[in-house]
Amino acid sequence: MLLPYVLVGAALFVLGLVGFVTRRNLIVMFLCTELMFQGIIVNLVAFGRYPLRGEPTLDGQIFSMFLLVVAASEAALGLALVVLLYRNKGTLDANAWTTLKDATA
């Protein structure tokens, strides 16, 4: 019973990941992280519902609640940052920000 849900969760997570890595729009990248959250939520709840050992518990759901909070915070802060970045450079292209690159290289 566990497998289908977990597999779908994994697929969602990986799709989000692929999107995060390949898309250049900052907003879409953020959206993709939300997609990964969705996959995780499915997985958490599925593991809580169909545990490998012992009785089903609520822990997965509770963790998902916290995850929601984190996602909300992240969205708020992240989008604020996106706006700020957009204001700085006038573009949402992730390639425009390469300051992590070592100056000497």
């Binding site: 989000g16 390949t22 250049r24 709840v45 929601l68 604020a80 706006v83 292209d93």
Partner: protein, 231 residues
């Protein structure tokens, strides 16, 4: 490698090729082929696992899974951010459906409310704010789609293979849900305010901090009005 694992791997491979082809700016712009591949991959995958479920759940699960995956693919591949956001709602709805199937009713409601009602709206606002000019070049061309798809789906293949191991398979049988583990408001509420009460408090602090942070970041400082537009 068992047969089902082989089938799953094939599905993952198909999906990978499909997503790659569907990426914006893909050099081989074979829209239809992508569609066919993705549909095939989804069908194989969903089909192969749905059979494990009890009969009364099979249809619902297939529906939600197909919806969710389709939505997810479109979120990732759509050229226009607004559409990505809207497809994301589809994903949220599908996930909500699956949560309900797993008796996480309260959580399902919360997810739907928070994501669709709050977060997505924020996204759409920001998209509106930042991208009034319609299509842009960076949306039209994905960044290194080949590598992204390759590594991403390789990860998925590894995970899928791990999941097909006997240990996971042994949990395939139906498990009776005790009343205390049902995701009712009551159960969740008790758990949150007893076992996880410290976590709840901390969550409050986190939200407050996030709020303060968002305001501090987004506030337009005096004299900065034109600074951004120069570049």
């Amino acid at each position: 490698m068992s047969g089902s694992a082989l089938i799953l791997s094939a599905a993952v491979l198909l999906g990978a090729v499909g997503v790659y082809l569907a990426m914006p700016g893909s050099r081989l712009s074979l829209g239809r082929a992508a569609l066919v591949l993705l549909l095939g991959a989804g069908a194989i995958m969903v089909g192969s696992v749905t059979r494990m479920l009890e009969a009364n759940q099979q249809v619902w699960f297939a529906l939600f899974a197909a919806l969710g995956l389709w939505g997810a693919v479109r979120v990732v591949t759509h050229r226009r951010p607004v559409y990505s956001a809207l497809y994301f709602i589809l994903v949220v709805v599908a996930v909500t459906g699956m949560l309900v199937m797993m008796h996480a009713e309260f959580l399902a409601a919360a997810v739907l409310t928070i994501y669709a009602g709050a977060i997505l709206v924020t996204y759409v606002f920001v998209i509106m704010l930042a991208q009034q000019g319609g299509d842009s070049a960076y949306d039209a061309h994905a960044r290194e789609p080949l590598w992204g798809c390759l590594t991403g789906f390789l990860l998925l293949a590894v995970i899928a293979n791990s999941l097909m191991e006997p240990a996971t398979g042994s949990a395939a049988g139906a498990i009776e849900l005790p009343a205390s583990a049902a995701g009712t408001v009551q159960n969740v509420g008790i758990s949150l305010l007893t076992t996880y009460v410290v976590g709840i408090e901390l969550t409050g602090v986190l939200l407050l901090a996030a709020m303060v942070g968002a305001i501090a970041i987004a506030r337009r400082r005096a004299g900065e009005d034109t600074a951004g537009e120069v570049d």
